[in-house]
């Protein structure tokens, strides 16, 4: 970024800028606008939602980072914050809401349950939303403190400023990355658990015995 300082002499061979003119890349300008006006879509399904509300309220004041405008319509949002466990009946709803949001859009997976399923390793709970929708930022904690969520939003702002392009090329790049190792291994988890787990073994043999 070149700034035309008052009193500075124009160098030979350089373009002289008038006063109050800033030269930058269009991408930088778009990123600067985008990162400072993130409108969150609160997808709050559990106790993380309470911390999400606290983050937006006066004490922690998410407005300081330009992200206080919580909208309950996905068409007005560009940051989805998934706060809480997502059950398999809710996942199609989550995917639909994500698809209704306009580009450019980002997703924060808030808390242990949204990121991994947490302690709810049962038939009904999705073991991490990143298996089925793209996630940009993970917040650990059960539930995370508002400070942690604010840190995630600041980190996301840095990421937008660093990588963002006006055409959204950075999303294509992330698409080309390898699948996360945990997700590649996830398909084998069921059989692995059964082999190691005596309770699961008994269940399986009982089921085989009946059929």
């Amino acid at each position: 970024m070149a700034l035309n300082m008052p009193g500075r002499q124009a160098m030979p061979g350089k373009i002289e800028l008038p006063e109050n003119v800033v030269v930058s890349r269009l991408d930088e300008l778009a990123n600067w606008c985008r990162k400072n006006s993130l409108w969150p879509m609160p997808f709050a399904t559990a106790c993380c939602g309470i911390e999400l509300m606290a983050t937006g309220a006066s004490k922690h004041d998410l407005a300081r980072f330009g992200a206080e405008v919580f909208r309950f319509s996905p068409r007005q949002c560009d940051l989805m914050i998934v706060a809480g466990r997502v059950v398999m009946k809710m996942l199609p709803v989550l995917q639909r809401i994500w698809q209704q949001m306009h580009e450019p859009k980002w997703c924060i997976s808030m808390g242990a349950c949204a990121s991994t399923g947490g302690v709810f390793d049962t038939y009904a709970v999705v073991q991490g939303i990143d298996r089925f929708i793209p996630v940009d930022m993970y917040v650990p904690g059960c539930p995370p403190r508002p400070e942690q969520l604010i840190q995630a939003i600041i980190d996301l702002q840095d990421k937008i400023q660093r990588e963002g392009t006006i055409t959204g090329r950075e999303f294509d790049t992330s698409q080309r990355q390898l699948r996360k190792r945990a997700l590649v291994e996830a398909d084998q988890l069921l059989t692995l658990d059964a082999a190691r787990n005596p309770v699961a073994q008994r269940e399986l043999s009982a089921a085989a015995h009946r059929t």
Binding site: M88, L91, R131, F132, I133, D193, E203, L204
Partner: protein
Amino acid sequence: MPHDPPAIDDVLATVTERFGALESTVFRGQTSLIVPEPQSFEVLSHLKEQGFDLLVDVSCVDYLEYRGAKQRYGLVYLLASTTTNQRITVRVFVDDPEPRVRSVEPLWRAADWLEREVWDLFGIHFAGHPDLRRLVMPEEFTAHPLRKDYPLQGRGERHNFPVITRDHS
């Protein structure tokens, strides 16, 4: 301090008079009546006539591999009377391969969703129910997950969704 519910000896006497001696247990003043499956609707209907106008809950227990259990599923009907405060528990046992019992929805409208829940999670068929659909699990779900032979982590249903990537959205 909670009090024991009022005694229901008078009601039990009318049941015995009409249906013969049924097995029953008493624990801390709470009476359970064990009813054979073919008679369940008639006994419950009779109890409603005797003043049990409130169906508190319909639930089920899977006694798979349970010590001493003769039949696999034990249905639980909790009844109460809003006029006399009397309470009674009715147990009905059914078994594989096709657990089936007559719906009490004609007696208490409250049974509608309660029986749908039991159908959803245990796969007990309630004959005569007007709208026996799943209540809590998704419509396309095929198993009955509270059965003891259903694995805790499921049979992969929770992984069976389309993956939405940045390209799709």
